[in-house]
Symmetry: C2
Subunit: 411 residues, 2 copies
C-alpha cells in the first residue's frame, strides 16, 4: 500500500458549478490564424464547492467561443462523478477514478477520450487538481515534484499505452537523483525559457511585430508572398542566430505542407507547427521526412486528442517537438504519461499556451518536467502570450522572457 500526501481533514466535494466564460477577442484579431479567423477566447469554468467554507477547486477547459455551451452541458452530465465524493477517496485512487470518468460505459461512445467529452473531463479533473493543491498548500508543480516515483506512477492510467511505456519504465524515468533542489533553485532564479506568439497572428499589422521577445512565432499558410515578406522582416529583426518559428494551424494537405515550407526554408524557420491535420500522424511523419534535410523541425500537439495518439507520434518518430495542451489532455493524469513518453522518445516538450488560462496551466508542467522528467532545458521553451492574464487571481510571472515558478495552485 502506498500513501499519497496526507490530507488534514476529510474534505467532501459538495457541488459542481459550471460557467460559460467568454471574451470578445475576435474584435482585435487576437489569436487569428489561417483556419480560425475570429476566435473569442473562452472557457467552460468549473467550481467545486466543498464541505470547508471558502475552499473551492477551480478548473477550466479553454475554447474559441462557440461550443463552450456544449462542453458546459457535458460537464453538467458528469457532475455525479464528483458531487458528494470525498477528495481523499478520489486522489488516493486517482488512476481508477480517472479511468471510470473518461470511460463512462454509455458516454464513451461520444469519444472515447477525445473532443467535447474529453475536454469536459479535463475541466473537472483540473478543478480536482486545484483543490488538492490548495489542501496540500502547494502549487501543482511542487505537489508533483515532491511525490515519490511510485506515487506519480499511481496517477497514470496505462490503458492502451503499456506497449510503449510500462509502469517500470515510468518508475525508472522518475527515479529521484537528489538534484531536484538544484533544478528548483535554478528555476526560482532564472525561470523557464519562453517564446511569444503575440507578434505573429495574421490579423496584426507588421508594425505590431516590432515589439516583444527574442524568439518569435509567426502564423503562415494564407498567402505565400506575404509569408515570405513577414519572415524576411522577422529574420532581419532576429538576426541569423534568432529563433523564428512558423505555425500553419493545420492549413495544408501533406504535399502542400512540404511544397510551401520549401519556399520558406531560406528564412531558417526553427519549426513548422501543425502543418496538417492533427489526426494525421503518418502525414506528419511524411512532412518531417521531407523537411529534415532543410533543417526545419515538425511541431504539433495542441489539438492532439489524447495519449493514444501521442503514443503513435512517438512510436513512429512523427514529430520533433511535442506541444501538449493543458485543457485538451485530461489534466495531470494524462499530461504525466505524455511527458514520460516524450522523455523516452527523446522529444522535447514545448507546451501550447496563450488563450485563456493556458499559460497559467502549462507553467506547472514545464517546472515539473524540468525537475523530475526530462531534467533538461535543451531545445525547450514554453509558449507565452500577453492576453487576458488580468482575469486571474494568480497570473503568470514573467522575468526576462522566462516563466517564474508559480507560487499558488493552478487557477
Amino acid at each position: 500500500m502506498h500513501h499519497n500526501l496526507p490530507l488534514d481533514c476529510p474534505i467532501r466535494i459538495v457541488s459542481l458549478k459550471v460557467t460559460d466564460v467568454r471574451f470578445p477577442t475576435s474584435e482585435g484579431s487576437h489569436g487569428s490564424d489561417a483556419i480560425h479567423p475570429d476566435p473569442d477566447y473562452s472557457a467552460a469554468y468549473v467550481e467545486l464547492t466543498t464541505s470547508e467554507a471558502g475552499l473551492k477547486g477551480c478548473g477550466s477547459a479553454f475554447t474559441l467561443g462557440r461550443g463552450t455551451e456544449v462542453i458546459a452541458k457535458n460537464i453538467e452530465s458528469l457532475k455525479h462523478y464528483v458531487e458528494d465524493k470525498k477528495l481523499e477517496s478520489i486522489v488516493n485512487n486517482f488512476r481508477n477514478f480517472y479511468h471510470a470518468l473518461v470511460n463512462d460505459g454509455q458516454m464513451r461512445w461520444l469519444g472515447p477520450e477525445k473532443g467535447v467529452l474529453h475536454m469536459a473531463c479535463s475541466a473537472i479533473l483540473n478543478a480536482i487538481w486545484d483543490l488538492w493543491a490548495k489542501v496540500a498548500g502547494k502549487p501543482v508543480w511542487k505537489l508533483l515534484s515532491d511525490m515519490r516515483p511510485q506515487q506519480l506512477v499511481d496517477l497514470i492510467d496505462f490503458t492502451y499505452i503499456s506497449d510503449y511505456l510500462t509502469p517500470d519504465e515510468a518508475l525508472q524515468i522518475l527515479a529521484e537523483d537528489g538534484k531536484e533542489n538544484d533544478r528548483e533553485g535554478y528555476l526560482n532564479a532564472n525561470g523557464y525559457p519562453a517564446y511569444t506568439t503575440s507578434a505573429g497572428w495574421l490579423g496584426y499589422s507588421e508594425q505590431t511585430i516590432r515589439e516583444g521577445f527574442d524568439k518569435f512565432k509567426v502564423k503562415v499558410g494564407q498567402n505565400l508572398e506575404s509569408d515570405r515578406a513577414r519572415l524576411r522582416l522577422l529574420r532581419e529583426l532576429c538576426g541569423p542566430q534568432g529563433v523564428l518559428m512558423t505555425d500553419a494551424n493545420q492549413r495544408w494537405s501533406v504535399p502542400e505542407a512540404v511544397a510551401w515550407m520549401r519556399q520558406l526554408a531560406e528564412f531558417q524557420p526553427y519549426w513548422i507547427e501543425e502543418p496538417t491535420s492533427p489526426d494525421d500522424m503518418l502525414g506528419h511523419r511524411a512532412v518531417r521526412d521531407a523537411l529534415q534535410p532543410l533543417g526545419v523541425r515538425v511541431a504539433t500537439g495542441e489539438m492532439c486528442q489524447n495519449k493514444v495518439l501521442f503514443k503513435q507520434f512517438f512510436q513512429a518518430a512523427a514529430l520533433d517537438v511535442c506541444q501538449i495542451d493543458a485543457c485538451r489532455l485530461a489534466s495531470v493524469n494524462e499530461v504525466l504519461p505524455v511527458l514520460l513518453m516524450a522523455a523516452k522518445a527523446g522529444v522535447p516538450v514545448c507546451p501550447h499556451a496563450g488563450g485563456l488560462g493556458l499559460c497559467e496551466y502549462v507553467q506547472h508542467y514545464i517546472m515539473f518536467d524540468y525537475i523530475r522528467v526530462s531534467r533538461s532545458l535543451q531545445d525547450r521553451m514554453c509558449e507565452y502570450s500577453s492576453h487576458l492574464h488580468e482575469h486571474f487571481v494568480h497570473p503568470v510571472r514573467m522575468k526576462n522572457g522566462a516563466y517564474l515558478p508559480p507560487e499558488a495552485s493552478a487557477m
Copy 2:
C-alpha cells in the same frame, strides 16, 4: 459547371428540431459487451421542417444513452447552418457546405471532425440527405447510384486525404461500367449478405445463441475460459465451414490482444473486431501482423472518428475489414471517400450496424458500394441485429439473412 439532380421546387429549410430519444435496452442486456456493460440505445434525432407542408428531412446520431443530451445541445448550436437555407443551395454546393459546417472557425477547436461535434454534424447532414432523397423521389442508395462520377466526386471534401485519394482517382473508381443495372437487379433478387450480432452479446444466456443466422459474431474479452466455452459451442453449431467472428470492443492493450487471440485461434475466428483502442492505428497494425499467420483478420471502424484516421489505417495496411459507422462519420459526404479509399486499398467494407437506426442507414451504403464502388460481394457482409426496427416508418427488409434494397429514403 455541373448540375445535380433537378429539384422540382425551391424548397427552403424552415426550422431544425432536435429530440433526445432513448430506449431502456440495458434492462435486457441488449448490446452489452466488455467495455459497455449497460447501453441504452438512443439517438439525437433531427427533424428539418420545410417550406413545403408535410415535407421533412429526418436524421439521427446513434448513442448509448447518457450524453445524447450533449449531442442535442451541439446540434442546437449548429442550427443556423441550415435554418432559412434553400435545399438547392446546400446540395448543389455540398462540398463547400460540408467543409464549412464541420470546420466552423470557433467550434472546430472541440474537434476537429471527431466526437460530439462530428456526431452532431452527422445528424444534421443525415437529415439533409433524407430530405434530398425525398425530394428526388428515390432512396439514398438509388439517388447516389444514379449520379454521374463527377457529381459524386463533387460531394467529397478532399481536405487532408488528397495525399492518398485524388479526385481523379475517385473518378476512375466511380466510372460507370454499364453493368450497374445488373447489380441492382441482383440485389433486388438476392439482397446483400448479412450476419447477426444478436446472438453474441455477453449478457445473453448460452441458450439464446442457438437461434439466428448462419454467420455469428460473439463478444469476447471478459473471461478467457468462458470465451473458449462460447466459441467451442458456436463452432459446433456452425460446423467447420461456418463463419464465426469475435469482437473485443476495445478491451485489450496490444500485447493482450495478441496473447488472448492466440488462445482463441483454434476455433478459427474469421476476424477479431476492435482488439484495442480505436485511435491506435499502429496498434492495430501490430495485432494484424501477429494474427495474420493464424488466419485471423483484424476488423475495426465503428468508433473510427473520421476519414483522416481511416486514411492512415489504409495507408499502413492496419486493418483487413473496414467497419464504417453511419452516424459517426458525417453522412454520405464522409462515407463516400472512405468507401473509395477502401476500394483503392482493396479492403472490404462490412458496416457496423445494430443500435438504433444503424441498419436502416448502412443498407444504403452497402447497396451503393456494390453497385458503384467495390462492385464485389467477396468477403463482404453487413452487420444486422433484430432490435428496435419497429420504431421506423420504413424498417429494413431481410430475406434469407440478406438485406433487400430499401424502397424509401433513409429514415
